[in-house]
């Protein structure tokens, strides 16, 4: 048994070294990601390869750029939805957007936007509330491939049923079907939804402030970071928000445990909507 526990320790050392190698060679820094989650992903990559150990993965990654991009792809596989957590969108509509409506121009930042579902949901909401025409949306992610997908705004039709459901629960004013048209087994979102969205590459770990915004939406990204990295990113958010700006996190994320908790006030506790202090 001792030697098996030893295996776990060796594995943890190997993972530490692998993450360091990735950072030194390719500049992607996963060292302060949630370790349990990163480990799961790395072991999945290992399981799908013909390699035996994590050290072998490291060797291959250093010498094979293609293998690295396969791994990177796997490290950021995710799932997202339009209008995920409908109650959050409902609160935005009823409580938060009215406060923004008096601004002459609204700037918002979706950090870690993945394939865009969340960004387009917001665009629909802003349209229905008559605010979209004066809004600029910066949608960023560190995954370049996924950003290309987000720009296309094409989704499999089998998702439409649950999106339509979510849309209704989120207090949608129109018919969700007005926002897309179907072609074969895909749904294409209405072009006008894209007008004021700028998709761009930004790494929350290694890139800094790029503009000052009225609202930051970063949902289910920080759960992948450890507390130190969360602290670093909360500082980045605090520096990027204008006074009284809004911060929206995922339903199980919190600034409460961060050293920067004093930078933000609870606004809607259940929905994790904060306001910069």
């Amino acid at each position: 048994m001792g030697c098996r526990v030893g295996n776990v320790e060796n594995e943890n050392i190997e993972i530490e070294l692998l993450l360091k190698a990735i950072y030194m060679k390719y500049g992607y820094d996963f060292r302060n990601y949630s370790r349990a989650s990163v480990k799961r992903r790395i072991k999945e990559v290992l399981g799908k390869s013909d390699l035996e150990t994590i050290s072998e993965v490291q060797h291959k990654i250093l010498n094979d750029r293609v293998f690295f991009s396969v791994m990177l792809r796997h490290m950021s596989i995710n799932v997202t939805e339009m209008f995920r957590d409908p109650s959050y969108y409902r609160i935005l509509r009823e409580k938060i957007l009215p406060e923004l409506s008096c601004l002459p121009y609204i700037k918002r930042w979706h950090a870690g936007c993945y394939s865009g579902e969340e960004v387009y949901s917001m665009a629909i909401l802003l349209k229905e509330e008559g605010l979209y025409y004066k809004t600029m949306i910066y949608a960023t992610d560190f995954d370049k491939e996924i950003l290309e997908k987000a720009k296309r705004a094409i989704f499999p039709v089998e998702n439409l049923k649950s999106y339509t459901n979510n849309y209704k629960k989120a207090g949608g004013l129109e018919s969700f079907a007005d926002y897309y048209f179907c072609k074969y087994e895909y749904a294409l979102l209405d072009k006008s939804l894209k007008e004021n969205i700028l998709f761009s590459n930004h790494n929350l770990v290694t890139d800094g402030v790029f503009c000052e915004v009225d609202m930051i939406i970063c949902r289910n990204v920080l759960i992948y970071f450890n507390r130190d990295l969360q602290n670093q990113v909360f500082k980045l958010f605090s520096d990027s928000l204008c006074k009284n700006g809004f911060l929206c996190l995922g339903s199980k994320e919190t600034v409460r445990l961060s050293i920067h908790s004093k930078d933000f006030k609870d606004l809607v506790k259940e929905e994790k909507i904060y306001r910069k202090a």
């Binding site: 048994m1 098996r4 526990v5 776990v8 943890n12 949630s34 370790r35 349990a36 989650s37 799961r40 992903r41 596989i77 995710n78 799932v79 109650s87 289910n220 920080l222 759960i223 992948y224 450890n226 507390r227 969360q230 995922g250 339903s251 199980k252 994320e253 919190t254 409460r256 445990l257």
Partner: protein
């Protein structure tokens, strides 16, 4: 009930429990029996719907006096508390004994998944972990069970003959040499014995 494995004075640092179909009632039976002043954390994955279930906490509150928590990300694991993985998130234990949540794809068609919790907890608590699998109609948990076993933890399974859905405990028993197969009541008795200081 065979208490042989309890006769050593081995102590445990945490208990993980996985339950699926019929699990809410099964957990009630077990948690109801626990003493109010227990000294280690209990981490639970119960497969259930996506909805935010506020009623859910209330369901247990009448039955046990300890803290029932649906944790937020990176919350520290505290002794004497019972943690339920939130609906639609995986829950994992980190080496520093905080909890990480994730929206990674479902494992065994489940999110939260029992395997995801068990495997991460096994690495942290090693031989000081008790794993429990209760009623369920799928095979979630058995991979995590193997890992707990490999790292020296104790494995407890609900007797499939007494389970609302027998598949999950049965698959676990077939996959690994478990330490004991018990009724819900006896699991309650066993765990009560393990968690008193």
């Amino acid at each position: 009930m065979n208490h042989a494995f309890l006769e050593t004075d081995k102590t445990y640092d945490a208990i993980v429990i996985g339950a699926s179909a019929g699990g809410l009632d099964a957990l009630r039976v077990i948690l109801n029996q626990l003493p109010g002043d227990f000294v280690i954390p209990i981490l639970i994955v119960l497969h259930r719907g996506k909805e935010k279930t506020l009623f859910f906490k209330r369901y247990f509150v009448d039955f046990c006096s300890s803290d029932i928590i649906e944790p937020e990300d990176k919350e520290a694991v505290k002794a004497g508390c019972i943690y339920f993985a939130p609906p639609d998130y995986h829950m994992m234990v980190e080496m520093d004994k905080t909890l990480s949540l994730s929206v990674d794809p479902p494992v065994n068609w489940s999110r939260p998944s029992i395997d995801v919790l068990f495997e991460s907890a096994a690495e942290v608590y090693k031989e000081k972990l008790v794993g429990v699998i209760l009623t369920g109609a799928n095979k979630d948990g058995s991979v995590g069970f193997e890992k707990i076993k490999r790292l020296g933890g104790l494995l407890v399974v609900q007797d499939p003959a007494t389970a609302t859905a027998s598949k999950m405990p049965r698959v676990a028993i077939e996959a690994v040499a478990v330490d004991c197969i018990l009724t819900l009541h006896d699991i309650g008795v066993l765990l009560s014995g393990l968690i008193k200081s």
